[in-house]
Symmetry: D2
Subunit: 406 residues, 4 copies
């Protein structure tokens, strides 16, 4: 007995997920499967509502997923975890098992970052891939994407980077332009996996969305490549929780001319991301992303601090506690304190589908390079100094209104 649920449709957009069996990817895939079957409402997907729903963005039925993954396991084993922690409804997982199995079969071995090598659950094909030269690796990744597009007769593939936070790496000279990057790859120089993936995606003709704080396509050489191949890309680091709140609240203090003395943020994470951030070098990548927005909105006089702690019992349910100390008229000192508790995956997944649709839309219109309209989705939006969430969102609205059919 064959599951025909996808074969009878003619999907025209491929979504290639790097980290395809991770929590976000699993939540996203099952969520889209569930939406297709009418099992859930499209809550949290901004592109489903006005004014974005007038743009003719890709329908859920027109999407097919594939991806890279370094870990062993199946999508349904990821789903079991998400059911256990109350993210994925069990009925939905059961109803979408055919779709999930079909996606599982399309997942290809991913690339280990140099810092990942101790992980016990890495699949053997990924380990084999590690023996190749850098050039051979990017060609393999690129070919996987191209093969996916051709096999499914897809009009376009958008690549979304959803893997773990890499250790922070300072900018290198070999990243300054494309020629030097190509030389470094040929010389087999160590290069962050996120950059190799971005390189491969763009070389495969695919728009690239970097949902992590990793370098991805944000180094000058890859921005140059995106311009040359005339493809859109965006990033970095999805704005899903505490930073979203900060960038929504801080503008109010600025508008009221209140003086924010201190803003302390404490983040508790229990998932794989939290575990990897227990490594201080990886943590640095994340903290840079999380601290910058406040400074941009409130200025450098505000004492800011962002803590990230691994609290295993929380699993996917991240909790942030922030304390804001501010001064008003007459020098009176006042406080705001908030606690935010949400599922990391359920907050992130709908942003991915929004970004995929917007990247597909931009590519279809011939727009390329950094996508400034997506700033509201990211903690560290590329080439953007505006961190005020509301201002960012108004830019997206304006972008949509300009392009909506009259």
């Amino acid at each position: 007995m064959v599951d025909e649920s996808e074969s009878v449709r003619s999907p025209s957009l491929g979504v290639w997920l790097i980290g395809a069996r991770g929590s976000i990817a699993s939540s996203l895939a099952y969520g889209i499967f569930g939406l297709r079957q009418g099992l859930i409402d499209p809550i949290g997907i901004a592109t489903e509502v006005a004014p974005f729903n007038a743009l003719g963005l890709r329908a859920f039925d027109d999407i097919v997923f594939g991806g890279h993954e370094i870990s062993n396991g199946t999508l349904s084993s990821s789903a079991v975890e998400l059911v256990r922690h109350g993210i994925l409804p069990r009925d939905l997982v059961a109803a979408c098992s055919g779709d999930a199995a079909a996606l599982d079969a399309r997942i290809r071995p991913g690339l280990l970052d140099v810092a990942d090598s101790g992980d016990a659950h890495v699949n053997s094909e990924t380990l084999a891939l590690g023996g190749l030269s850098q050039r051979a690796k990017v060609e393999r990744l690129r070919d996987d994407i191209i093969h996916f597009r051709e096999e499914h007769g897809l009009e376009r593939v958008v690549v979304v980077y959803l893997a773990s936070t890499e250790p922070w790496t300072d900018e290198r000279e070999s990243w300054a332009d494309l020629a030097r990057l190509d030389a470094a790859i040929d010389a087999n120089d160590e290069t962050p996996a996120s950059c190799l993936y971005a390189y491969a995606a763009l070389r495969a003709g695919a728009p690239f969305v970097n949902f992590t704080p990793n370098r991805g396509a944000s180094i000058p050489a890859l921005r140059q490549l995106a311009e040359e191949v005339r493809l859109p890309h965006c990033g970095n680091d999805g704005k899903t929780g505490e930073t979203l709140l900060k960038s929504s609240l801080a503008p109010m203090f600025a508008a009221r001319a209140l003086r924010v003395l201190s803003w302390q943020g404490y983040n508790m994470l229990g998932n794989k991301d939290g575990a990897s951030l227990a490594d201080p070098v990886r943590l640095r990548s994340k903290q840079r992303s999380k601290d910058a927005p406040l400074r941009a909105i409130l200025g450098d006089e505000t004492h800011t601090s962002v803590g990230i702690d691994y609290v295993p019992s929380l699993h996917d349910w991240k909790t942030a506690m922030d304390f804001v100390h501010f001064q008003g008229f007459l020098g009176a000192k006042m406080t705001l304190q908030f606690t935010w508790t949400g599922s990391d995956s359920a907050l992130a997944a709908p942003l991915v589908i929004d970004l995929v649709r917007l990247a597909d839309f931009a590519a279809a219109r011939g727009e390329f390079g950094v996508m400034p309209q997506t700033a509201c989705f990211f903690k560290s939006p590329l080439e953007c100094d505006v961190h005020d969430f509301h201002a960012q969102f108004q830019s997206l609205v304006a972008y949509a209104l300009e392009r909506a059919p009259k």
Copy 2:
């Protein structure tokens, strides 16, 4: 020995405070005195920063205060309370005693609202005023304002209504147009004190700012009067705390297409406003103001509730605890909880000075009627459906940029 601190200046703008010895008025007056002497920084005053500081708004040195008040006491006795509770710095109060005494001498007996009559501390002149006809009352109030303007050679007087919350009153037929209102006043019909004050202000040629949830100038008859006498006015109910936060945060949920299931707000007030809101009929006025913004932004499907409790030990330090229950992708339920603690007076006073400056500026340019640009200052902005704080503030910025000197 005479305090010369004001006599040597030539103030050109009068600010007439109704409730002139209340906490907000006292904080405002001492604050402006302190700013003139360079004792404090202008924190919390939006019109001190860009782009509003380019409009040539009235300087602190160019302002003289007067007002109506129903209670006995002096400004300095109000200040003692505010010092005790850590709002006014004692040094500032000491340094500004001359200015305060001069203001005290300019305060005239105010009008009791019918619901205030049990108050023990009402001054005898206010009680005497109560014996007059409604028409005689408004003439007395009007004459006080005119006399203030003439005595000090002021270019303009702005009247700001800062008195206690009145009991909620349903709209009346006699308020539908100016002719009927005049007839009702002549017939000595009971009319809310806030309406009589607004009537008197407009008849005295003064722009009117209603900082309370009371009716003030928002009834059709008085809006008509403002149009006829070509004066600007604005209100209602200063947005200083929990509602400010709600209207800053709720748009984020809307922008992210998250479904807010419940928004419970618990307000604890310890000041005179809190005590008067222990009366359920007055409370209704306030709750209407505080509940509407959320419904406007999030829709009627959200379960909302606004509680206001009198907690005497807090005095001027109001505390709000809000609980937001929302649903994201996959139906996952998440929460945001915040606690906001601030001085009611220190939050409100700088908004009053902003509104006075903007009303003065509008009047100087010949603008009249409702001032839509001031929506961001109010819980229930007149003739305005937008409650999103950021959108409101952008309107104010746009208003300023259009009128700034090139």
Copy 3:
């Protein structure tokens, strides 16, 4: 195929649940079934740990459930709701379906309180019961309990009252002693259902546990009856959440000689209990229970307030936000604010099993009347002025140590 899971055991203790298909009863029953099968850990059951585990209390395997219920439906339909809201694990429900069906078959029609009559889901047998005289009703209830004991050959039955909060009723003259109560029942006077149940239980020879704020066995006439029939009983109102926290924290303030100025408690409930508390008369019953402990510990100078709001989206997940304003040395004012979120049923159910075991133990030892050792389980412990949770718990520990085998 027959489920043999219970038939092979020889249970010797019956637990008769009034409100047998409610959330607490369902959580309790499935929980005990799961514990028997080793599917879950006995978390939250104090009698499982030292020193109580040395008393030889009844084992989970030795318990059989029955009960009264007024609503239609089955235990498994209650379980579906609890699974949906993340209280009961679905696997546990599936694994215990045989036990649940067996229990369902033992549930008998309950008695409507006069205030319940509008409920749409009441079963027809309960409605029929409503037509009987008060005397006939209590005899029917009594007979159900006796029949349960005899049919299953039980050594003893403990009756636990878990139904909804009744409207507050002032003490009546007819409750002053047993003779008058009997006369009132014979005269067919309206009597709270909770009293009729308690009467029936004691007349059936069963110890009675009142887990609600309802009158239950706390009226003088029924306390007299318990003494006469030499049966133990306890109540009122299980201390599961906010009151538990209050009575744990307030003693610290007292021990440190800190002056608590205000203690504001805001409770949000989304379950049937919350809905019934939307009725202000029922609410009064609950608020009395929740307010008294603080006053007992901190004295009457503390301003206290307890709010209860119905927030449907929370379902069984009650959330309490408390604000404590206190004064320390030098008069410095300080604050404590807490937010507690827990499953009402999962917090309550293990206390019920503890109380059942303790009532059974007391009865076996010939102890009768009010059980003072159970004060730590109740918001309004009968005949007990101590509300300090730690002191209450130490009494229970002392009770156990005195009775433990040497």
Copy 4:
């Protein structure tokens, strides 16, 4: 003109404060001066209420203060800071200026810890003291205490250690007994200042209270000395805020057999203590004190974490935000979150007066060695495994009841 306020009394108890111009010492001294004059209520002083007020403890009038201090400045300059931040009422400071000046004149140069040497505000006499041998230093400190006792004809002096947190030092062999410690001092070995102070106090015949996490008298050699000279002593680290709450709340979770999965504590400090804890080696001293109580009550399975951050804008107003993740019946996961804001000095000062009175009382009765009855005052009580605040407090109550006059 001479201030006679103290000379007319005949104080019989000396309190020698190490860190005599710090925030706690200043708050304490002004507070006691104010209590003598009837300017404030004795809030926060447990020994003022039953059952401790029946022990005949030393009256406020019978106490005279002196102390050691390393910083320049005066008590009144410390008071100015505390007034600015709303801890000390200005009127109290003004009214007690004579007492404060008299105390200032009795303060002697203190000893720098090796890690303090970079501090800019150290007084020159303290620097000179640094040039002496270890032996000469302890003799100087001892002589200061003896001179204070003799000059004022005091019956007894209690020494209280209130200086900054020292860097953590591992146990040394030379601390194992008194002979080795004496040898180390003679050999001029580096020894923590807190140990030298404790040594000097005991050699001066004074009971010693260590209110800090520093070693103080807790090393074996000094415990031996206290036994030999038959003096009582107690410590370490005053339990004033977050740890007080933890040790009040954790026992409730244990009593209810709930499983605490994670307890994250985030402390924000703005005072000198906070600044010194920005040094990770000093932080370690403090974190050890703060983490142990939870582990003792809840066991090692609970994931615990204690963060301490320096947030300068808070000054003396420390704020703690704790997040407790726990599991109940059926495995349901629940949360408690609290925020505690209090003045560090106003919380600590009354505990110091309690401890001084109790040490004086013990010494008067000939009790010596560690004072186990004081466990409830400390984060790391000496020779005590009980961290449950309520159990600790009951021990103190029992101690008092045993010794109260019948």
